[in-house]
Amino acid sequence: MKRVLISIFAVLLYVLPVSASVDIKEVKTEGGLTAWLVKDQSIPFMALEIRFRGGASLDAPGKRGAINLMTALLKEGAADMDSREYTRAVEGLAASISMGVDDDALSLSARFLTENRDEAVALLKAAIQEPRFDDDAIERVRAQVLSGIESDAKKPDELASRAMDRIAFGNHPYATSLSGTLESVAALTKEDLIQAHSSVLARDRIYIGAVGDITEEELSVLLDDLLGDLPATGAPMPPAAEVDFAGGVTVVPFETPQSVTRFAQRGIAQDHPDYFTAIVLNHVLGGGSSESRLMDEVRAKRGLTYGVYSYLANKDLGDIYVGAVSSANDRIAEAIEVIRAEWEKAASEGVTTEEVENAKTYLTGAYPLRFDGNGRIANIMVGMQLIDLPIDYIATRNDRVDAVTVEGVKRVAGELLDPDGLHFVVVGQPVGLETTPAN
């Protein structure tokens, strides 16, 4: 129901499994599904992560918000259970079942105790395959979604993200909120929700990660039972987004003491040969930690903000390079000036050998620390599959980071960083900033 931050894929890239003793098995079911499994029988439960590619971007024309509302309703009554009966049944098994949707995927996350796994899987299956979409549940959850849309219209962070998405993604579904508008959500019918369900929940777009107390054979049977009866195909994927926008400033007037800012420029694709070089570059410039140049210049040296960061935002259908900062209305102009200057400096001069080496040490050293927990590992594995990484990627990932050179970072900095193309969206009452004319 909540929009997942678009940073999710950037984060996953940092995170992808490596040298830790993560032994992934590929499981092919009789029904033709593929899953990645890590067996860990030390604790009697399993974590299961399932993704359906396409997510909320598959909303039909004029039906914005249908997939989000449909997702929120999956647990609100299924098979012969109404909403409360369903929840009581899940609670009675101490299982956890949650659904979410973002621009690129619908997510199912579940956690089952070994002692009652079959019953818990049956409940998850009911939610996936037999949601009821009862009228009273639709109206109750629709009212909650509408309240959320009204709240988003008064949150500086949401306003900034929405404005930046419109600038970056134009007419693509990524440009608008997956929650829909007050009008579009008010008009949704039960038939629209059924249609939304069949658009997304299909077997031709499923990705699965499982970790914990289960064997290959058991998982194979479980998955065919859980997902085998879904339709073979769903809605076609949207086209790629045309990411093409000009630098400048867009002020969104909003009465609040601190201006909330997003900045962005064109990005770089994950399968681009320079991608890891760009990751190292961003780590030095604005990624990762308090060690970045932006944190040092904007926060540590000048005290202009509590936090500033940037990341490569890679969605399935469009790549941008994004950052964020917040400063009091009378200080945001200076913060933006410093960020622009750092962007220009890195573009023209690159970064130092020491910075590159420190970034590489961090990125390679942090990698194995991510694999401590069944749920976390299941998440990482399903993320790997979504971006089409090979199952043995873990063993090679740190080599790719280690291969990055200071010369390479300097070259990529010159090619990728585009100080003139950097666009700032400022929500607040910024002193000394105005919207630049469109060019």
């Binding site: 439960f45 009212a143 309240s147 003491p257 401590d372």
Partner: protein, 444 residues
């Protein structure tokens, strides 16, 4: 993504239901009085090193609100042997992450790093317990940072501003009525003397708890802790932790907070409530169940009454924070549907509470919650850092290791009668605050 020195308590209002998984926990005390907790998980070569101080915002001197959190930021500056930022950059160069957080009753620092770097983390953490060296420039820039942090967390968020007013009205005499991050006008005056005064009093081994979780053994932790922390002498001047307490609360309080940035109005009610006390956790255990039964989700009593049956509310919830050194609060929130006024929502909430006191606890619901609590002891072993956090919070909030380990059994022993008795006791309007968060009035 970047260092967020967080304010912990505001985000941690929901009760920690589970008890510890005792078999993975070892505790001991160093000669200088520093308590040590080790939580083992050998599945991945990772360790989390945390140092908790029994010093939070409620221990601050009057007039210097926010100094505990300000000092937490300043501990990332220079020491006698480390340059400014060196601790964090050393952690990063070792592939780790570090951070810190401040609450009413504690300040904690932590690093997550490869297990073989534990000694290095202890060396640096022990160094900054006694040896920070601040400049006037550090004070000025970092004070600007915490002011921007307050802007981000509070000034830009009407719900947070409302919460501050609710707390201030709830506590008549206790420092829990003052925000952890501080009041803006006092934050603006914090200086070197304020920061170092707090540091000198509270930062010593006999006021600290070391909590290490992950791929380590108790023997390794003991040897390293004795080497790095053991040589720091205890502070004999450490004051006894006594705070001004609440007088009997005898007058119901009401407030209205209006803000143009409010989209969804709601009613919030807080009641002064007992916390978990060492050796006497039973009433708090009953309140944990009360909170879950009343407002813990789709099957809870308030949801049933106000969202499903009467359909006056869009959202309902209750929360209770049992781990606290002094009196805590029991909270209820009702967000009405668009065609329902706050007065109607409040009336419906009070009617529902009265009905609950009449009808009592649904035995099946109680059993489901107890089963979930037992199951959480299995799930908790997948995340030993959570167990580590639980010990750190408890031991800085007046509880002992024995209290933490007794908690799961105390929860399982709670009866329907215990819950109803606790409900009758806590729902005393004279010790309550009722607040309305509203939009600005529309002027014609």
């Amino acid at each position: 993504m970047f260092r967020l020195t967080a304010i912990a308590a505001l985000a941690a209002l929901f009760p920690v239901l589970a008890g510890a998984s005792d078999e993975v926990v070892t505790t001991f005390t160093l000669d200088n009085g520093m308590d040590v907790v080790v939580v083992e998980d050998h599945r991945a070569p990772v360790v989390q090193h945390m140092l908790w101080y029994r010093a939070g915002s409620a221990d601050e001197p009057i007039g210097s609100s926010g100094v505990a959190h300000f000092l937490e930021h300043l501990l990332f500056k220079a020491t006698d042997t480390m340059a400014e930022g060196e601790l964090s950059s050393t952690v990063a160069r070792n592939g780790g992450r570090d951070n810190a957080f401040t609450s009413y009753d504690y300040t904690a620092y932590f690093q997550r790093v490869a297990a073989d770097r534990l000694g290095l983390m202890m060396k640096m953490e022990a160094d900054r317990m006694k040896n920070i060296r601040l400049t006037e420039n550090n004070i000025l820039t970092e004070r600007d940072v915490i002011i921007e942090e307050r802007n981000q967390r509070t000034e830009n968020n009407p719900g947070s501003l409302f919460g501050e007013q609710m707390n201030a009205a709830q506590y008549l005499n206790h420092r829990y009525g003052v925000p952890i991050i501080g009041w803006m006008h006092e934050m603006e005056t914090l200086d070197m003397e304020d920061a170092l005064g707090f540091y000198d009093i509270y930062y010593s081994p006999n006021n600290a708890i070391l909590v290490v979780s992950g791929d380590v053994t108790p023997e390794e932790v003991r040897a390293l802790a004795e080497e790095h922390y053991g040589k720091i002498p205890a502070n004999p001047e450490l004051p006894v932790r006594v705070r001004t307490q609440e007088p009997p609360q005898t007058a119901e309080r009401r407030l209205v907070y209006r803000d143009a940035r409010v989209a969804q109005p709601y009613v919030r009610r807080t009641y002064l409530a007992p916390e978990r006390d060492s050796g006497a956790q039973e009433q708090a255990a009953a309140l944990v169940f009360l909170s879950e039964i009343l407002g813990g989700g789709t099957t809870s009593f308030l949801t049933e009454e106000l969202q499903f049956d009467q359909q006056v509310a869009l959202f309902t919830g209750s929360f209770y924070r049992p781990v606290s050194l002094d009196d805590t609060t029991f909270n209820i929130i009702v967000a009405p549907r668009p065609d329902v006024t706050l007065q109607e929502a409040e009336d419906a909430m009070d009617a529902a509470l009265a009905k609950f006191l009449e009808t009592g606890v649904d035995a099946e619901q109680l059993e489901r919650i107890k089963f979930q609590i037992r199951a959480d002891q299995i799930y908790a072993r997948d995340d030993v850092d959570r167990i580590a956090n639980r010990y750190g919070q408890a031991l800085t909030s007046g509880l002992t290791v024995e209290d933490v380990q007794a908690w799961p059994d105390i929860l399982q022993a709670v009866t329907e009668e215990d819950i109803m008795a606790a409900a009758r006791d806590v729902f005393d309007k004279r010790a309550s605050v009722t607040g309305w968060l509203m939009r600005e009035e529309v002027t014609q």
